[in-house]
């Protein structure tokens, strides 16, 4: 929630009249008339607009006379994706990167990064500010759940219209209201972890950290929050968390995906739990002593 239909039809006043003017996968026009929309946005027709990026940004200098990603042409002149990002970012009231690729580069920037791809945060920089003074907002995940997108975009709309505060962001520009907790900390299987029950093979109901789950080092609300209408969740369904919300995805330390995370991390968290148990037992003992 809110659903896509709620957003598009403007179900309630504070989020009404949101206008999706350009999205290659859903818009009615094609070819030149589609590109005219971007051109008009560049000239200010749609101010104030939010620039939402999906997909990584390649290094076009590495493409020589050719190109890695083209979006539109005019009289034989080809436009690259980078051209549009750079010209639209200048006027954008806010810039939001959606997904692993757009935020931090995602799979295309995975080793050996054949196209020199990177995300919007690196492209515009951590100090970049929109015309409304907002930094780049990142909604990571491969892909992010629909709710993460609508809730973050919704929060920005509410903020711009004065109904809510601008969402608090972490060091990787992720909204804390979504990415403030480790996957492990909201995982329905975390209880097995603290009891020391680890799945040894797929299909068992226990904690899957030993099968490669990166929930201990990845900030993500999916295990408890699910993917669609609160259904699903990766470790919830016995699948190892890939760490797709982290900037390093899909490389080290998140892959190989079936390799358990660094032993040190596991040891530290296990020691914390043992200490926690001892403190708890100790405090019970003290209470008992007073009686």
């Amino acid at each position: 929630m809110p659903s896509l239909i709620d957003v598009l039809t403007g179900v309630v006043e504070p989020v009404s009249n949101i206008n999706l003017v350009f999205h290659q996968a859903v818009m009615a026009p094609w070819g030149k008339r589609a590109i005219d929309v971007l051109d008009d946005a560049k000239k200010g027709k749609y101010d104030p607009f939010v620039l939402v990026l999906e997909g990584a940004i390649p290094d076009e200098e590495k493409a020589g006379d050719g190109f890695w990603c083209m979006v539109g042409e005019n009289d034989g002149q080809l436009y690259t994706l980078n051209y549009w990002i750079d010209s639209l970012a200048e006027r954008a009231a806010a810039a939001v990167a959606v997904g692993a690729c757009a935020t931090y580069g995602g799979v295309p920037h995975g080793h050996p990064n054949p196209t020199g791809a990177h995300g919007l945060l690196e492209h515009l920089g951590k100090d970049w500010k929109s015309t409304l003074g907002l930094p780049v907002v990142c909604i990571p995940g491969c892909p992010p759940a629909g709710d993460w997108m609508t809730q973050t975009l919704g929060a920005l709309v509410l903020a711009v219209r004065g109904f809510a505060a601008v969402p608090d962001l972490d060091e990787h520009h992720r909204p804390r209201f979504l990415f403030g907790r480790l996957a492990h900390d909201n995982c329905p299987r975390a209880g097995y972890y603290s009891e020391g029950h680890f799945a040894e093979t797929f299909g068992e109901q226990y904690c899957v950290v030993g099968l490669g789950c990166k929930g201990l080092i990845s900030y993500c609300p999916a295990p408890a929050g699910g993917w669609i209408n609160k259904t699903g969740g990766c470790p919830t369904f016995g699948a190892p968390c890939l760490g797709c919300t982290e900037p390093e995805f899909p490389d080290d330390p998140l892959s190989p995906f079936l390799k358990p995370p660094d032993g040190v991390i596991m040891t530290k968290t296990i020691i914390k739990r043992i200490l926690g148990g001892i403190y708890q037992a100790y405090s019970l003992q003290k209470e008992g002593g007073r009686k």
């Binding site: 070819g31 008339r33 939010v50 799979v107 699903g232």
Partner: protein, 572 residues
């Protein structure tokens, strides 16, 4: 005054990914005389997978596409089942099949209402074919009892993006289909649970019910959708639209939906388990079925890069397949992806898409992938129940959903017949019937899941190895058609990983022999129905032709705006 007009459409919107199409039109004769199709984005997935741990391919390769990750997961998992010497237990096979069927239900709904459908909605028809819109308002429907609309004009209005009831309603059903999918996949898009040797979670009687009862909500909707489409097709045929986007019936299908008791992931048995699929593999050349054997079908796949931005490769690591058959140098097991960006030149290199062809006995065939291909091979082969050699018959189950008409709740028999020609209308029709066929398959699979649960056969995973050297191939049907993954494992790591997608076949440029790709072929001689002055033609017949093959090339930029009414802008 010149009588020719060139339209270069880039971006081709309402598709997945970045595609451009150039069409040269003879204005006086009102036909397309030449065409070029170009993929305008490169990411390098195949290079990124080299050197990684083999199982990682399942998760990475799915990220090729956000619309069809399930078939990528399945193709990759089957390639790995084979290469890593394992085979999933029956329950895992059933759950993989179900994920696939649910994906098709959402995917083909998306295509009919959001991607292709708007071209037949009032928004675009009244602008580009205004005389049609007037006729459609008086064109009575034949299936009013089922869908409730009296005229095709009414349907077209309800298909208008953002405003139309059908457009909005369809989003809701897509969500339900994805919820069913998540019951198996844990996550969607990009399934979390598929692993070599099976899947990471079994189902329970609780989860199976959650799946079943969500699924049943979809059944009447599918029935309604089939007959809405049939009425629109009747109108399009009245307007002669079966002459648009015609190409020869040269088709490829890998089939899909493994039989849980027969699939063993062994290359040596691939022809046997391939033929036992719910959707039959096959090659059709000039309307005739040539083979159903998966080994022969996949060994015929060869990729040309003569008109694409790549260098030729010279290494040949795989000379023979595990059965001793010759593996040609241009086969994906031998292909090395060597990108070389260049200036676009229509006479030389003009696309990031390669040109895969099906080569048999030295002859190069340009083959089309898609629902029409797999419906054709399934109907022609008589390998599944309901296949008659010229048609495919199946049933959609009875439901008892309160508030719905008897017409929508009753059991419904459907029959898809092999058409006389491959064209825009028949491609769209085949897609709608494939959606219905997959609905029938999904129902059967859920019942089978209950049977296996009852027998206590809930195991979902068998251990795999990481061999020093091995080969794997995974072949299935994505929404858009035949999808293949090929892997070569060396020293326990991915040595080579190659993917040939259906849009790779369909959107391909010219090949080494100068043959056009399927989009290009389909555009040649396509009549122009667009009304008004030629100077203002936007190429609606061109985009309808291309979208009938549901291109999938992947990525995008999005802009939201703050304070006017959405509907007007997106409507045109």
């Amino acid at each position: 005054m010149s009588t020719s007009k060139t339209i270069f459409i880039e971006p081709m919107t309402r598709i997945e990914g970045h595609l451009g199409v150039k069409a040269d039109i003879d204005v006086e004769r009102r036909v397309v005389v030449d065409a070029h199709s170009t993929g305008v984005m490169f990411r390098g997935f195949e290079k990124i997978m080299e050197g990684r741990d083999p199982p990682d391919a399942i998760w990475i390769s799915q990220r090729i596409c956000g619309v069809c990750p399930t078939p990528h997961a399945i193709a990759s998992a089957e390639a790995l089942d084979m290469a890593l010497n394992t085979s999933p237990p029956p329950m895992a096979i059933l759950l993989r099949n179900l994920a696939d069927a649910f994906e098709i239900i959402y995917d083909h709904t998306l295509h009919w209402f959001q991607l292709s459908g708007p071209d037949y909605s009032a928004a675009i028809v009244s602008e580009r074919n205004p005389s049609w819109m007037r006729e459609a308002e008086d064109f009575s429907t034949e299936y009013r009892d089922i869908h409730g609309f009296s005229t095709v004009g009414e349907i077209m209005r309800e298909m208008t993006p953002l405003e139309g009831k059908l457009w909005i309603e369809s989003l809701n059903y897509q969500r339900i289909a994805k919820e069913c999918l998540v019951m198996v996949a844990g996550k969607y898009p990009h399934l979390a649970t598929v692993v070599p040797g099976g899947i990471t979670v079994s189902t329970t009687i609780g989860r199976a019910q959650e799946m079943l009862f969500r699924f049943l909500e979809l059944v009447p909707w599918v029935k309604k959708m089939v007959f809405i489409a049939e009425d629109v097709f009747r109108f399009l045929q009245e307007k002669g639209y079966e002459k648009v986007g015609v190409r020869k019936a040269n088709l490829i299908s890998y089939g899909a939906g493994e039989n849980p008791e027969i699939y063993d992931a062994k290359y040596e048995n691939m022809d046997e388990w391939g033929i036992a699929r719910e959707v039959t593999p096959g090659i059709v050349i000039d309307g005739k079925l040539l083979t159903n054997r998966l080994t022969e079908i996949h060994l015929g796949v060869q990729e040309y890069v003569t008109h694409s931005f790549y260098e030729e490769w010279d290494k040949r690591d795989v000379e023979k397949d595990p059965l001793g058959n010759e593996v040609p140098p241009k086969h994906p097991w031998n292909k090395d992806t060597r990108p070389k960006p260049e200036k676009m030149d229509w006479d030389s290199r003009y696309s990031w898409v390669t040109a895969p062809r099906w080569v048999s006995k030295g002859k190069v065939h340009v083959v089309e992938a898609g629902p029409i291909s797999r419906m054709w091979t399934t109907a022609a082969s008589k390998k599944v129940e309901g296949s008659t050699g010229s048609s495919l018959r199946f049933t959609l189950p009875k439901t008892n959903i309160a508030g719905l008409s008897e017409e929508l709740n009753r059991e419904m028999e459907l029959e898809w017949r092999i058409p006389d020609s491959v064209n825009v209308v028949e491609r769209l029709r085949a897609r709608i019937y494939y959606l219905a066929y997959m609905t029938n398959i999904a129902f059967g699979e859920i019942i089978k899941v209950l049977e296996y649960l009852k027998k206590g056969k809930i195991q979902v995973f068998n251990e795999f190895e990481r061999p020093k050297w091995s080969l794997g191939v995974g072949l299935t049907e994505a929404g858009r058609g035949a999808l293949g993954h090929w892997i070569v494992v060396r020293d326990g790591k991915i040595h080579r990983y190659q993917v040939v997608t259906p849009s790779n076949f369909n959107a391909s440029p010219r090949d080494g022999e100068g043959n056009r790709g399927p989009y290009e072929e389909a555009l040649i001689d396509t009549p122009i129905t667009e009304e008004g002055d030629a100077a203002n033609w936007d190429g609606v017949d061109v985009v309808r032709t291309i979208r009938s093959m549901d291109p999938c090339l992947a990525c995008g930029v999005t802009v939201y705006k703050g304070n006017s009414v959405t509907r007007r802008v997106i409507g045109g």
